[in-house]
């Protein structure tokens, strides 16, 4: 797929702290992600992959260099502008699911729509459709405590895709799940990438899961070590 890059990092650095205690987590990253790609980010702990994901998710800004999201220089946006960008274009899936406790699956999925100010009936309809996409339409009124880990992650994915984002960022989405469930989640992500055309960026430790990606980026010591074609390419 020779699409325009939806994400481009140019000589991105990130330094935490200052002076003697300063720590440089990213030492100059150049990276492009094409629209519709399925990217796995791998690397040992402390390699800078989490820092990179925070920047790619517009949660954090680089210390140096440029981050272009759809051609927009994100490093020049303020906090609220980045929040609006996340609201409009990004979806997040976390290792720990991060669903709101004591809140039904439907209400969890509705949350991003609330911030978009959509009407109640439309909100309900869209959220139910997203739950149906992850195969949990019948579980809409269950709270996270009443769902299994795999189901919780499905709800989290439904929440991430309910706004039809351009990019889905998944931070070790299978890290807390058993193997069978992990494969199910990966199939779900692959399907979303293939059918809905959502660009997926996924951090993972497990080579098995990286097999689902088209592009695998290896991080080491704050630098991109190598980029390779995944098995799915």
């Amino acid at each position: 797929m020779a699409n325009d890059p939806i994400i481009a990092l140019r000589a991105v650095t990130k330094t935490y702290g200052s002076g003697a205690t300063a720590f440089q987590a990213l030492k100059g990253i150049d990276l492009e992600v094409a629209t519709g790609d399925f990217v796995a980010v791998m690397g040992p702990s402390g390699s800078g992959k989490s820092t990179a994901m925070n920047i790619l998710g517009c949660l954090d800004v680089p210390t140096g260099g440029a981050f272009l999201f759809k051609g927009v220089p994100v490093e020049q946006l303020d906090r609220d502008q980045r929040a609006l960008l996340r609201r409009r274009y990004l979806g997040f899936v976390f290792q720990g699911f991060n669903l709101l406790a004591r809140t039904s699956a439907l209400e969890n999925v509705e949350l991003p729509l609330l911030y978009r100010g959509e009407e109640k009936s439309r909100r309900r309809e869209t959220a139910m459709a997203a739950l149906a996409k992850v195969g949990l339409a019948d579980w809409w009124d269950h709270t996270p405590a009443e769902l299994s880990g795999g189901q919780q992650q499905r709800v989290a994915i439904a929440r991430a895709i309910v706004t039809n984002p351009d990019v889905l960022l998944a931070d070790e989405p299978t890290g807390n799940l058993d193997t069978t469930t992990s494969y199910e989640i990966m199939e779900l992500l692959t399907g979303l990438n293939r059918d809905a055309g959502i660009t997926v960026l996924m951090v993972t430790h497990e080579p098995d899961m990286a097999e689902y990606a088209r592009t695998i980026i290896h991080f080491r010591d704050g630098l991109v070590e190598r980029v390779e074609q995944g098995a799915a390419a």
Binding site: L59, R79, D80, L84, L99, L100, G117
Partner: protein
Amino acid sequence: MFFTTIILAVREIRRHLLRSFLTVLGIVIGVAAVVTMVTLGQGATAAVAEQISSLGANILQIRPGQGFGRGGGGAQAPDFAMEDVEAIEEQIAGVRAVAPQAQASALAVRNAANWQTTINGTTTQFFTAQQWQLESGRVWNDAEEQAGKAVCVIGNTVRQNLFRNDDPIGERFRIRDVACEVIGTLSARGQGGFQDQDDVVLMPIKAVQRRFSGNRDIRFIMVAVDDAYDTASVQSQIETLLRERRSIGPGEQDNFNIFDTRQISETLQGTTRILTAVMGAVAAVSLIVGGIGIMNIMLVSVTERTREVGIRLAIGAVASEVLMQFLVEAVVLACLGGLIGLLLALVVTFFLAPVIQVPFLFDPQINLIAFSVSALIGIVFGYFPARRAAALNPIDALRHE
């Protein structure tokens, strides 16, 4: 968006019902205390005003001594005599009625029933001065008044306690060793504030003087001023007259005093109003303590919900939305607490008012003020925790355990 925030807040409150209730308990108690205090205080003020005005409009009370009661001139302040009453009646213009009064407290007995009451010896002018109608029977005539006959007009409370459902007219009952004939009953005036006005037996003053007090002294004189005359000028004329009659030299202090009931009423109302304000202020302190309670729980809640805030921020909530969420939550909580407090105060005052014998007066103003203050407390004490939540860094918040 604002409406959405309210939905979110209500959902959050519903999810933590017990915690929410404990959070607002301070506000509930504070609002209830303020509204109860002020409502009862206003009732007391109204009761005082009503009791004094029930003495009659434009009434002057003349008593021996200085100040209330018989203080000051004490031993040197003699009671009045019937001649003083006659002098006022004849020499002062603008006097509608002059009623001397001699009082005694005594036990009234009829068959098995007995009742401790006040025997008030007076003249028929008393009824004119007080504008008090009879319910049945008649007042005593001049002959009975001159003779000091043991006839009486009884108040409603005395009638109920001695006669139950019997017709008292023409019946007799005993006060000490005197047998009194009931010739009339007074119309009921009700609970006039702190004393039951209907708990009285009226008799010709000579009868009381001769049979109960054993002297010819008059304890005080009630003067009703004609509406067309100025009460203050009548008051000063009476003062001049009585100084003369009691041989008080120039420069000497009066050994009697004249009270304008309206003046007393204003003084007493002022006092109860200040008391109400003081009690209300003390109660208001508890309202502020309630506000601090809200802030305390909201701060804990923000820490506890750090991860939730992180999720919301990651999903795309802007800082002002998170701020609004927590602020609206605090305000909705505080308003709910205020409403519960108002209801509580309503119930408490409704049942407490009869117990402490003040009328139950619902004042929309104090209710509105108390409610607004609780909303304001929600804003003031909710702002700091809300700002803290809004300032959270989404990455740290998501990592928070």
